[in-house]
Each structure stands twice: as structure tokens, then as C-alpha cells.
């Protein structure tokens, strides 16, 4: 006759505690890894987003990777297609504005507004690089006084929707 054997099971409370500890440990490991990922990535890749005037006025910004926005002066655009180098100037626009199109226009009409030379190397010339476009550049102002951009973002022209009524509509019909 087979003998029945019985083994006392582990204390259920103890087992529960050990499982909880496993889950908590796994959670802490995940949380710490995620925090490390975010903090280290941010410290390495963070760039200040500033205006042209701020870049030019503060020597502390020289050589630092920055993000800067300005109005593109269309006449200054020069593209060397052999070397794939784009050169142009951007003009200071204030960091706060109500109407972007107006801010860009005002900036380019102001002869005294601070302006900065830009160089972008090994790049195709973007279609949106036009007069009165807003350029958002990532790069650094080097010792040669030129901002060497590694990233160039241009605002889509649909942003330049008229907030004021268009000119030319105002002529009254003859019968009125």
C-alpha cells in the first residue's frame, strides 16, 4: 500500500511577502533606469533656445550648442552647390510676438536689428529657405563670428496666414 506523504507548504504570508519584494525590486530598477535615461539624455542633449541678440550679446554663449530663431534675409542666401554649403543671415526677432508674419517683416525692415551670419554644411538647400521665413537653428557661434548650424528648421508658410485683411479687396464695387 502506497504511503501518503505530506510536506508542510511554505508559509503563505512569507511567499506573498517575497513576491511583493520581487515586484517592488523590479519596479525600482525600472524607475531608476528610466530616470537615468531621461536625466543623462537631457544633460547631454539640452540646448538653450534664445534670440539672436542674446547670442551676440553674451560671450558665455560662444561655443555652446544653442537653438536660435530669427528672420531669414532672402538677399543674403547663398548656396554653394559644389560644396553643399548654405550661407545666409538671420535677423533678431523678439521671443514673444502676437503675429509672427508681422514680427518677421518688422525685423527685416529694421536696419539696426542685430543680425548673425549662418553657415550650414553638407546640406541640400531647403525649399522653405525664403525671405521672411522663420529659421530655427541648432548649432554654435564659433570664434569666426559665424553660427555653424547642424540643424535647420524652417516654419511652414501656412503659418503666415494673414491675420489682417488682405490688401486689394478694399476697392468698392462700382454700383455701391
Amino acid at each position: 500500500m502506497a504511503q501518503a506523504s505530506w510536506e508542510k507548504p511554505k508559509h503563505p504570508l512569507k511567499r506573498k511577502r517575497s513576491q511583493r519584494a520581487q515586484f517592488i525590486t523590479a519596479g525600482v530598477v525600472i524607475l531608476v533606469s528610466l530616470l537615468y535615461l531621461l536625466v543623462s539624455g537631457t544633460l547631454q542633449g539640452a540646448r538653450y533656445f534664445i534670440t539672436v541678440a542674446e547670442v551676440l550679446d553674451d560671450p558665455a554663449h560662444r561655443g555652446r550648442t544653442l537653438r536660435v530663431a530669427g528672420a531669414v534675409d532672402g538677399e543674403s542666401i547663398d548656396y554653394d552647390s559644389e560644396e553643399a554649403v548654405i550661407r545666409f543671415d538671420i535677423v533678431h526677432i523678439p521671443s514673444q510676438y502676437d503675429d509672427l508674419a508681422q514680427a518677421l517683416r518688422d525685423a527685416l525692415e529694421d536696419a539696426n536689428a542685430p543680425r548673425m551670419n549662418i553657415i550650414v554644411e553638407d546640406a541640400a538647400i531647403p525649399d522653405l529657405l525664403q525671405h521672411e521665413a522663420q529659421a530655427i537653428l541648432t548649432g554654435a557661434l564659433e570664434g569666426d563670428g559665424i553660427f555653424h548650424a547642424t540643424e535647420l528648421l524652417l516654419k511652414c508658410p501656412s503659418r503666415f496666414e494673414e491675420s489682417s485683411p488682405p490688401e486689394g479687396l478694399g476697392q468698392l464695387p462700382e454700383h455701391s
Binding site: Q19, Q22, F23, A26, I30, L34, L37, L38, G41, T42, Q44, G45, A46, R47, Y48, F49, I50, R67, A69, Y79, S81, E82, A84, D98, D99, L100, D122, A124, I125, P126, D127, L128, Q130, I136, T138, E151, L153, L154, K155, C156, P157, S158, R159, F160, E161, E162, S163, P165, P166, E167, G168, L169, G170, Q171, L172, P173, S176
Partner: protein, 674 residues
Amino acid sequence: MLAELGLVALTLALAGALYAIVACLYSARTGEQRLLQSGRNAALLTCPALLLATGALVVALLTEQYQLRYVYQVTDPGTPPLYRFTALWGAQRGSLLFWSLLMSGFICGAIALNWRGERRLMPVCIPVMMASLAFFLGLSLFIENPFERWWILIDAPVEEQVVSRALIPPRAVPPTEANLRAGAEGMNPLLRHFGMVIHPPMLYLGFVGFTIPFAFAVAALASGDLSNSWIRATRRWTLIAWLFLSLGLILGGRWAYDVLGWGGYWGWDPVENAAFLPWLVGTAFIHSVMIQEKRGMLKLWNMLLVIAAFSAVMFGTFATRSGVIDSVHSFARSEVGFPMLAFWAAMTLLALSLLAWRWRGGALRDERQFASLLSRESLFVLNNVIFIALFVAIFWGSFGLPIASELFLSKEVTIGAQTFEFYVVPLFIAMYMLMGVAPLAAWGGMTVARLGGMLRIPLLLTALGVAGLAVGGTDLLVAALGYGVVMFAAIVALCEIARGVAARRQTLGEGPLRALLALFGRNQRRYGGYMVHLGVTVIGIGVIGSTIFQTEAQHTLNRGETVVIQDYALRYEDFVRAQAVDGRLMNIASLVLLRHGDEVARIRPRIDDYPQLPMSIAGAHSTLENDFYVLLIRGDRQRATFRIYINPLVNLVWWGGLLLILGTAIAAYPKGRR
């Protein structure tokens, strides 16, 4: 006449939505069913009313009614009919109306299909859906009215004479037809692409679709009916919204690839990221909802995910439409920003408050506890953690860091694409590994040895695949490992499908194809899910190939000259200028692509001259192996400069997307009564 018709229909839709809110909420209090039915009917009325309003705007666009400010802004006499139609969603005013139409379509579908099954949730569900719709209708009527017309005020000073108003102002006349036609601004050239026909509607469908699960979740919380019934009702709606959102994201990538001319498809732009965020939360929900259905767990978490998905949609809409975010995709700065932010905050707070109330009352207590780390439910939770980590990282980089730095440092700090890649690559690796392991784990728990046994064959096949890649010439260890991780997930999905087919063949004696079809038909969710996993792995292979091995070069060629790039030769043949039917001038270069001396394609990149700006249209030779992608930079008949990209495996991104959509459609397809 069209403007009046549109205005009346829009007002009627808003009135219907408001009445539905009041009637249904009153019936929730009193239990009066006739009032609930009346509210439902008013909600259903919004759809035909919005169809009428949208129809009026479409007719105005097609028939060149330039007195309408919107028509004047987005079209001109040279705009082809197809783009006249797509102009409906080409700028803020029209796209808000279109958004409302899609939302109301989704809502009417949800009411019609769930009226019988989920009737007890309807007294709250309908008001939540209608509140969302009414909010967008309010924006359309009071802030961004698509039916505003240009008027000249006869008695006003010259500089204030031209105004745009929805209603006819006193002592006003319309501008002359000739002036209107001459001044019409026309569509942004970037939007004149086939992608414009389909990408925004799909994205909008994905966005507005998340309103339905949110409304059901809030209704369940408010009514206290927190059984799995609301989960069943919303799961399919979530899948449908997720399907459209996925399609919108894939098509957006394709559009960027074709139109923006940088040889890439994802730039970590804030607006792109804003559309990706609800997708991540939706993906997490699609997985975790299975645990609630099967095990009665994660009730609180699922509620949170549904609320977060809707909240992410609203935040993304705010980010895109307010114009406060710097992006190539965003709309112009608009007055809708503050109301949208307020609506987003109000809806999110309302839902979270209800959630907290129910949670404190113990109504969201799980029926089981996690028994083992090595169980399917634990691994699904880990999968959720990864999706939420991706959400946090991308939200932090796109919005959190710029906002926090502005608040605490008075300076905006941003991060670039490289940092986003630093964040997401380890998380995607973890996601792919889990995609391989989790489907093999058992509910409740299993031993390491048993799981190891199940993983043996997929791991062996993966190792063979990686070795094959190494022999085949993939000399980059990172790429080989990347392919390995992605392949592992694909092999597990394929093995599971093969196992199912084999089991049917053995037990039922079916042929392989019949067994495969029956497998997908009998268990749509499971095998549709595997197909989605396969799609994601194919996308992963495409992303690794096109990112790590992309070749980029720029060459200036004389006519007849050839340049050699890898094992291709590219010869500049000709250059022509031609005029398109819409009047734009096209500068077309003609090149011959040779491989091993044989002509494989003729490539014609071009630059289209629009009045607003030139548009570069890439020429490409596409195969499954790679895309030979050429941009014309400038040129004439004698000499031209080209930017050349070889993007290996990039087409797998689109093919993988197609598999993903197909798999989701299978999983979401309603099962007939058997």
C-alpha cells in the same frame, strides 16, 4: 447662400449637441427613458447637420466662392479640383469643421451600435461625447468660423474697410469678384500631394475615435457600473481609433519622405510626437485590457489609460492647433489655444476626480493579485511600463522640458532628434524583446525552465538569422544585434501561427491554407495581434536598415556625365522645363540609373515653381532592397546638382505598416453570431 446654409446647419448641430447633453443628464437623474431617447435623437441629428455644413463648404470650395474667407485663403483659380476638395482640411477653419464631422460620425456609430447593449451607460456616455463635440462646434462658430465672408464697410475709414464676418454687417457690400479672384492666396504647395488626400483624415479619425472609449469610461465611473461590460464596449472602438491613428502616422511618415526632401520619415518634431503620444497610450491599453478581461485585474490602470489616451489627444490637438509649438506641421497661431487648454484640463480633471472617487469607494479593486513575475499578466504590465516610459520620455522632450525650463529658468531648453533617439532606442529594444517573450508566457505563472523550453526554438532561429546576416555582410555589430532583437519577435509570432496551423491540421485534418484562414477567423484578436506584431517587426527592420545604413551624397554632373555610388551608376541625361495644367513651371531632370552596367530605372527629380515657393519633388527607384532617392538641387541643360540618398530597406517601413493595419482590422472586425 452657401454661407447661410452652412451657418444654420452648424448652429443646428450645436443646438442638437447641447440639447442632448441636458436631456440625457436629466434622464440620468430621473430615469425617464423618453427623455433619454429624445437626447439620443438630438445627438444623432448632429451628423446630418454637420454633413450639410461640411457639404456647403465643399461646394463653396469647388465652385470658387472666394467671398468666403476660408475659400479665399486656401484656394485660387489655379487650384485643381482634387486639391479644392482636400482644401477642406488644408487650414484651421475648414479642418475644425471636418474634425467635428468625423467626431459626430464616430459618435453616431457608437450610439447606434451600443444603444441596446450598453443602454444603462448612455445617460452619461452621450453627454460626454456631445460635450466634446459641442466644444469643437463652439470653436467653429465663435472663433474659427469657416463661413466668414469678406465685406467692405462703406462708412468705415479706408484702413478698416475690409472685414470678415459670418453675418452681413450693416452698410456693407461684398468685394468685387475680380478682386477676390485676383487676391485669392492658394494652397500651400506642401499640401499639394496625394498624401494630403488621405493622411489628415486618417489622423483625425484616429484622434476623434478616442472620444468613444473615454465617454464609456466616464459613464462607467459616473454610473458605478464598473463590470467588464464597458471594457467590451470600448475595446473595439479603441482598436478602430488605434487603427486609424496608426494609418495616419504611417501615411504622415510617407508624406514627409516624399515631400520634405530630406530622405527621412520621422524627425521627432513636436507635432509628430504629439500624434504619437496617444498611439503609445492606446497601445498600452490594447494590451492591458486583456488582463482585465481574462483575470479581472488592472481595473484602475485601464481606466487611467483610457483617460490618458483622450487627454493626450486633446493635448496634441492643442499643441498642433494653437500655434504655440514651433513645428513645420503646426497651424497658424490661433485664438483656439486657450479654450482648448481649458477644455483639456477640465475634461481630464473631471475624469480623474470620478476615478479617484470610485477608487476610494473600492469599486476598482482587482479580483486577483499578481502571482508571479514570470506570468503573462506581469509581462503585459512590463509591456505597459515600456509604453508609458516611451510616452514620458517623448512628452518630456517635446513639451515637459521646454515648459519646465521656461517656468523655472526663464529660458526655453529643448532637445534634438539625437536625444530622442537616445531615450527611445533602449526602450524599443525592450519592447521587441517583450514582444517575443510575453506571448509565450502562461497566465498565472510558469517556471523559468518551462519558459526557457518554449523560447529554445525561436532563439535558435534568431541566432541562425543573425549568423546569416554576419555571413551576408552586415559588418556592424549594432545593426546585427538590432536585427536579431526584431527578428526574435517576428519568429515568435510566426512560430505561434505555425503551431496553431499544425494543431488544426492534426486535430481536424485541414489543409494548410484552410487551417490558417480558420485560425485567423476563429481567434481574430490573438492572430490579428500576431499579424500586428509581424508588422511592427517588419517596420523595425526597415527603420534599422534605413537609419544605420543610409548613404547620402551630393554631386554636380555635366550632361552625359556619370557618377558611381556603391554598386550603382547614375548618368545625367537631360533637363526640360514644362508647364503643368495648373500653370506651375516644372524643371525636370532626367537621369538613368544603372546597376552592374544594366539600366534599372529612369529617375526624374524635379523642382516645381509655385508663386509662394519652389517645391522639390524627389525621383526614386524603389525596390524591397532599397530606395535610390534623388533630389534636384539646381540645374540647367548643361549641368545640374543632385542630392542622392540610398535608403536600404526603407520600403519595409510601409509594407510593415500595411501588415499592422491588416492585423488590426482582423482583430477589430466584428464577429458574426455563430
